[in-house]
Amino acid sequence: MDNIISIITQVAKGLNITISVLLAAALLSYFIAFVAGLCRLSKNIFLRKFTGLYIEIFRGTSLIVQLFWFYYAIPILFNIDLGSNWSIGVIAIAMNYGAYLSEVVRGSILSVADGQTEAATALNMSSFQRMRLIIFPQAVRMMLPEFGNYTIQMLKGTSLVSLIGMGDILYHGNIMRSTNLSQAPLIYLIILIFYFVLALPLIWLTRKGEKIAKKGVAS
């Protein structure tokens, strides 16, 4: 029992990193998703292609390698300082998931029924008003479940920041395991439970999002 408590207190030291990286990466990725998703629908071909390139690169390569690029390669190649380990972790995760989420944004906007655009046109709305008042509010409802799912994945993705020396919950668990290998099963069980408990509110929010998405959308 003492064992369990000491493992929990150790692992809990990483909570603030895990949670703060998750929150910052989630918010930044949502922002990227909306900007990139709308750029993909832009009339400007340059903007469309450029955003498409970003999305395919970040979806098509590994998040760990991207993280190492931001951490090791880019500072050397371009002599750019991306800030602390924390901000590098946040940027890498947000860029990666932002790429996936931008496709959710794009797909949701496209899947609002054509009849909605036509009805808005018949009421003489401008294309900006159609987007702002009619299409976007419905598309956001449709996005909610997918945003929830990707946020849960992002939570699990935060464990990668332990690889660039950040003290998240996995990092602290690994330290304990390195001093006491026989405890490994218990340590990793407790880490799993930590992730699961952190994911619970996200799972609940995703369910909520699914309910909202079912109402109030024309498809």
Binding site: E118, A119, A122, L123, N124, S126, S127, Q129, G216, V217
Partner: protein, 256 residues
Amino acid sequence: MAEPIVRYEDVHKSFGDVEVLKGIDLDIYPAEKVAIIGPSGSGKTTIIRMLMTLENPTSGDIIVDGTNLWKMEKNGEMVEANEKHLRSVRGDIGMVFQHFNLFPHMTILENCMTAPINVKKEDKKEVRERSIQMLERVGLGDKLNNYPSQLSGGQKQRVAMARALVMRPKIMLFDEVTSALDPELVGEVLEVIRDIAKNDDMAMVLVTHEMDFALDIADKVLFLDEGVIAEQGSASDVIEHSSNERLQGFLSRFRG
């Protein structure tokens, strides 16, 4: 006779290789009630969709209140209209759709209020009163705060009409507005149209399969067949006295 409010001049429309409309000439006068009948696929809906700017004509002109809808003058030349031009011309036109197309994320009162407030920049309080009046007129005064998903098809279509009327159009287009309804709900929607036709002085164009109803309220009936207006005139002219065999064949199918 007064100037027509809408004039089609040799309007053609193709979708890909298929020419749907092969030269439409048509005048619609203020307050005139026009019914367009004809077999499906004859291009009836396309005629009014082009007037609502949902479809652009392949060639020809549509003149609304003296202004060319799809063309505008730029440096002394007529060029394809941009959105600004379309918006400035189509403001007097309203449309009701086969599938209602209500905004599902808004209550029915908000459905009616959003365009007058955001598009015409009218006073919110005044718009609200007018919207409530209009919804009461179509018999939905007790549903103001309901969402479209809570209504029957007939109720949805009545909301759609109120939403269009609140914009005070000079021309109202009805695109097969009863085709998606269960038979027992058709009557309540037709009643509202009849009420509008009787009491409002806007021009109305109805694309419809409700033959008896159309003939009853229409000042002018067009029979569209294979992309041309094959017959037009007053209801009695077209129905009783036309010698057009295809029209007679078409009508007989409705009379059983």
